[in-house]
Amino acid sequence: MLIAVTVVLIIMLLGSIGTVFAFSWAATHQQFENLESAAESIFDADEPIGTPTDPSITRNS
């Protein structure tokens, strides 16, 4: 039982520390700034905003 509780506590600690670390990393690395450009970051030069990337839509619109 003691081993089990220790394992759970270690995993809880690691998980919590990991999540808090990821959150603070995101905050200090401008991940919560310039949100508009972040939303547009998935578009490329050949698949820009305004261009559907499913050929079935392109052919019918």
């Binding site: 959150f23 972040a38 939303a39 030069a45 698949e47 559907p52 052919r59």
Partner: protein
Amino acid sequence: MSSENALKPDAAAIEESRLQRLEIDRAARWPVGIFLGSSLFWLLLGSALAIAASIKLHDPEFLAENAWLTFGRVRPAHLNIVVYGWLSTAGIGIGLWILSRLCRAPIRDHRSLTLAAVLWNMGNAVGTWGILRGDSTAVEWLEYPTYAAPFLLVCFAFVTLEAVGLIRRRPPGHIYISQWYIMAAFFWFPALYFTAHGLLILAPVQAPAQPPINWWFAHNVLGLWFTPIGLGAVYYLIPKIIGRPIHSYYLSIIGFWSLAFFYAWNGMHHLIGGPFPAWLITASVVASIMMFIPVITVAINHHFTMVGHFKKTIYSPTLRFVVFGAMCYTLASFQGSSMAIRSLNGITHFTHYTIAHAHLGVYGFATMVFFGSIYYIMPRLLEREWPSRFLIRIHFWSCALGFIGYWSFLSWGGVLQGIELNQKDTPFLEIVALTMPYLKLRTISGSLMTLGHVAFAISFCWMIIRHRASDGEPTLFTKRVPDPAPIHE
């Protein structure tokens, strides 16, 4: 004029971008293709076992003479095959592909990932064999015997290492919300699986502590594994397909971090009424109600991103599946939070209503989003189009109608069952008889869903063995309107 001279400066950028994506898709072809292809095998096997289990509920003599096919083995085999064989296998493939695309970095070590895919499938095969031969652990959602776990562990080590490598090789700048979701899922799932496996099977804790660990695991598999992979896919596919950024990136961030911080508390609401500390259950009920925050942010984002574009679901198979799945996500989450309210839980607990709810999450949401994702990914991996519009139509309508029927019948039957279970004077066998019509309708609905899966598998195999390269003709839900060039490569 040579093609070089013909390129304007921005045309060069366009060409560079196209070639980079082509390189990424080609590097992903084998590992992602194996994950996606093998997931379909498990989908078909899981569906066959689901129908067998469903028939046994209203016709207990069906296949009862063979010990391997008794309800106590078929039902957990179905559950584990669908969770680990279909959804997890497809989820790994989809997650890796989207991560690779968003990191703008090709998968580097495709050999180890291919080996990972083989190991994952071996783990599923060994686990399924173990359950059917009677070696089940009898821990719900973790029924695979211990000897299946090492295969899954090694596979996930390869997958997570490659995912970390992709993130490290990305160009500097923002990490898009889908990357956050998928990366987190690749860490959360192995932590969940191996913690629960260790504490429940390898070195079991004392009996009273087992149900909380079991439901902490089972609930989080949905919320911290399928949900982030599914939402990561939705946040990537909807904007890419319609060519419009998500409505509010700010809301998407709130959605992700509230899921990360609070979801893990949810599972204890499965134990309402059980012999557990009151604070444990109450904390879980509160966390379940708090889930309205990430769900509403996601729902607003999905809906307002799609506003003005819903008509495109007429044409695009991917969009139709993904939008259907996204709507089911909202519905499943609202329903799940409401089921944590004690008064409602007192009726729905131990009834078919819970089964309907579980299928709303894993089928209506996760499975439909994964179908849509595969429709988007495969033509880019193989550089050829889906072979048959007819098969895609059969796939969508069989699955959608079958699922709507399944969920509606079981929800309604479950509520009636729950009301009667709370009447102390109603004989139990009367309640069993009351649920019979709903169980038969469940079998019919499930068979319809399976028909869709068969159509999908035929379509998938046909696409692979057809050696003709894409002629640019897209596979539509409706008849083609003539127009310009193919756009994906």
